[in-house]
Point group: C2
Chain length 136, copies 2
Amino acid sequence: MRTSEELLSNCGLRKTTFRKKLLKLFQDSETTLTVEDIKKKIGNNNDKVTIYRALSTFEKSGLIHQVPDKNKLSRYALCNSKCKPSNQAYQHAHFICDYCDNTFCIEELEFPKIKKIKGFEFKKLELIIQGSCPNC
Amino acid sequence: MRTSEELLSNCGLRKTTFRKKLLKLFQDSETTLTVEDIKKKIGNNNDKVTIYRALSTFEKSGLIHQVPDKNKLSRYALCNSKCKPSNQAYQHAHFICDYCDNTFCIEELEFPKIKKIKGFEFKKLELIIQGSCPNC
DNA sequence: CTAACTAACGCAACTGAGTTGCAAATATAA
DNA sequence: TTATATTTGCAACTCAGTTGCGTTAGTTAG
C-alpha cells in the first residue's frame, strides 16, 4: 500500500501535517468514518471546518468516497482500485449495522445484473444491506 | 384504492383535516415527496412541525416509508402491498435522478439474489440506482 | 346533543451538522 | 531565504429537524 505522503503527492495535494494524519487514519481504520469518529480519533485539537474541507478535497481527488450512513451523517471510506471511474461501472455495496450504526464496505460481492427500465438511464448502482454486523 | 379516510381509520389514527389532506397528497402524487415539496403543494398555512409529526406518525403506521434523497433530506413515498413486512424480505429499489434530484420508487424489478457473507446477517436490501430520469 | 377527555396542532425557541468569510499560519516554488 | 499560494482556525452563520407547551379540534361517554 502507498504511504499517505505518496498518495497526497500523486493527487497534487499539499502534504500538510493534518492531511497526512487524516489520510493515515483512514488507512489504519478497519471501518468507515464519520466526522465525529475522526474528531475522537484525531483529538479535538483540529477544527471541524478543517476536517470538512480536507474530506471534501480528498473526495474530489478520488482518495476517499462517501458511504451511506444510518443517521444521514457524512461518512467516508478509503477508495480502492474498484472505486476508480475507469473501472467502468460504479457499483458499490455497503452494509449498515442496525445496532452499532456503523457502515461497512462490502468488497466480496458479485454485483447483480439489473434489467434496464425504459426512460431511465442507469449510471451508478449501489446496494445497501442492513442487518447486524459480526461485532453485534 | 382506499380513500385517505379509510386508511387513517384502519390504522387507528384520528382523521384530522391536515392528515386527510397530507395522505391524499401522497395518493395523488406521481413522485416521492420531501417536506419542502409538501409545504409547496399544501400551501404554507401549516407549520413544519405538524408536517414532520404527521409524517412520523404515518411512517410508524406503515402508510408511508422513507426513501433515499440525493441531498439527505427526509423524503417519503406511499407504501404499497410490497412494502409490508409480511411480504417476507424487505427489498426496495429506488432511482435517484442526478438532474432533478427526485427519487422514484422502482416496482418493476426482479430483485437479485445476494450471497451471504459470514458474520453478517442480512435483514433488508435496498438497491439505489442513479442516473437520469425520463423527464430529464 | 353536550360535556369531558385525549390527541393533534401551532408557535417559539432550540439543536446540531455542515458552511462561509477572513485573518493568521504553513507549505511550496523561485 | 523570500515571495506566493494554499491551508488552517476562529467566529458567525444557515437550515433541516426537534422539543416544550398552551390552544384547538376530534372522539367517546353520558
